[in-house]
């Protein structure tokens, strides 16, 4: 069979310009919308309204441990109290909670049945509350990876009046 164009090389040139245009536009779009966001985590709190009046009291439920956080006029942390005991910092609070809770974990353990009630001054900065919740809810194990949980039931006392 005779091929008409045999021996003649047809060079097909691709049009690269439109593709490069679009590719650069995509690149600029993604660069402009790119934002580095720090990972975020949550501290879960279950606080139904008027919960204590509902149902019978749980026998395993210990009375809540009260953590009192006092603030200066500017909102900075002025003092920490666990029950009647005054503590110098959140590290000491964590050590106290670790002593109370011990190593026992799981259902029915002290950690599972204990509740912390945070009683804070109105003007206290929220970061101190998160520091307190961090201190009582767990700590990073010595391996630097795993989190050892302490008390997970956390609630707020009724808000104090604004001073």
């Amino acid at each position: 069979m005779k091929v008409r164009n045999a021996g003649r090389e047809d060079k097909v040139e691709l049009m690269m310009t439109p593709m490069i245009d679009i590719v650069f536009q995509l690149l600029i779009f993604f660069i402009m919308t790119f934002k580095i966001v720090a990972p975020e985590g949550d501290f879960n709190i279950k606080m139904p309204l008027n919960a204590p009046s509902e149902g019978l009291p749980d026998d395993n439920q210990l009375p809540p441990m009260k953590v009192r956080l006092r603030a200066t006029a500017s909102g900075r942390l002025a003092g920490i109290q666990l029950g009647q005991r005054t503590l110098p910092d959140f590290k000491a609070l964590q050590m106290q909670v670790r002593d109370i809770v011990g190593d026992d974990r799981g259902p029915g353990s002290v950690a599972a049945s204990t509740e912390i009630e945070l009683d804070c001054d109105y003007g206290l900065r929220f970061e101190s509350v998160i520091d307190a919740i961090t201190a009582v809810s767990g700590y990073v194990a010595s391996d630097g990876q795993n989190i050892v949980k302490l008390i997970e039931k956390i609630k707020f006392a009724p808000p104090r009046p604004e001073s």
Partner: protein, 150 residues
């Protein structure tokens, strides 16, 4: 001096585009993977407190509703910025939507509170109280992961 260009012929240098296109596609792939369209609920004005225990959750929250509390005590909810006292009508509307959706309810929904680290705790408590009075029970106080902790 006279330069005769015609004799030498037009020099047509065609650059090799392949490495540039390779790099560009790799950059696009990088940004596409890292792009985060879900940060609509993250207002740049809110500077979250940090915690070493704040890790991204393994499972997504059930019907999350994000409330952002500024340092000045204003609540940012969706596109609205209202004081805490004006939040109830918005929450009631949200509750009606949840109650009308099969399998969802206000008591099962989680209110995610993204409060500024310098916000007053009393305002956060007022915010929680307003949510409680509307029928919400579950709350998640959001903090950012502390730098240095993995």
């Amino acid at each position: 001096m006279r330069v005769d260009r015609k004799k030498k012929g037009a020099a047509f240098i065609e650059g090799d585009m392949t490495p540039m296109i390779d790099m560009t596609f790799q950059l696009i792939a990088f940004f596409m993977v890292l792009v985060n369209f879900a940060d609509a609920d993250q207002n740049a004005r809110i500077r979250l407190p940090s915690s070493e225990l704040a890790k991204p959750a393994d499972t997504p929250l059930d019907s999350p509703i994000t409330l952002q509390l500024t340092r000045k005590g204003k609540v940012i909810f969706a596109a609205d910025e209202v004081p805490v006292s004006g939040l109830k009508p918005l929450l009631l509307r949200e509750r009606q939507v949840l109650d009308a959706t099969p399998g969802k309810s206000a008591s099962k929904a989680t209110i995610v509170i993204r409060a500024d680290r310098e916000a007053k705790t009393g305002t956060v408590q007022e915010l929680i109280k307003a949510c409680q009075e509307t029928g919400f029970e579950r709350f998640a106080l959001r903090a950012k992961q502390q730098e240095g902790s993995s």
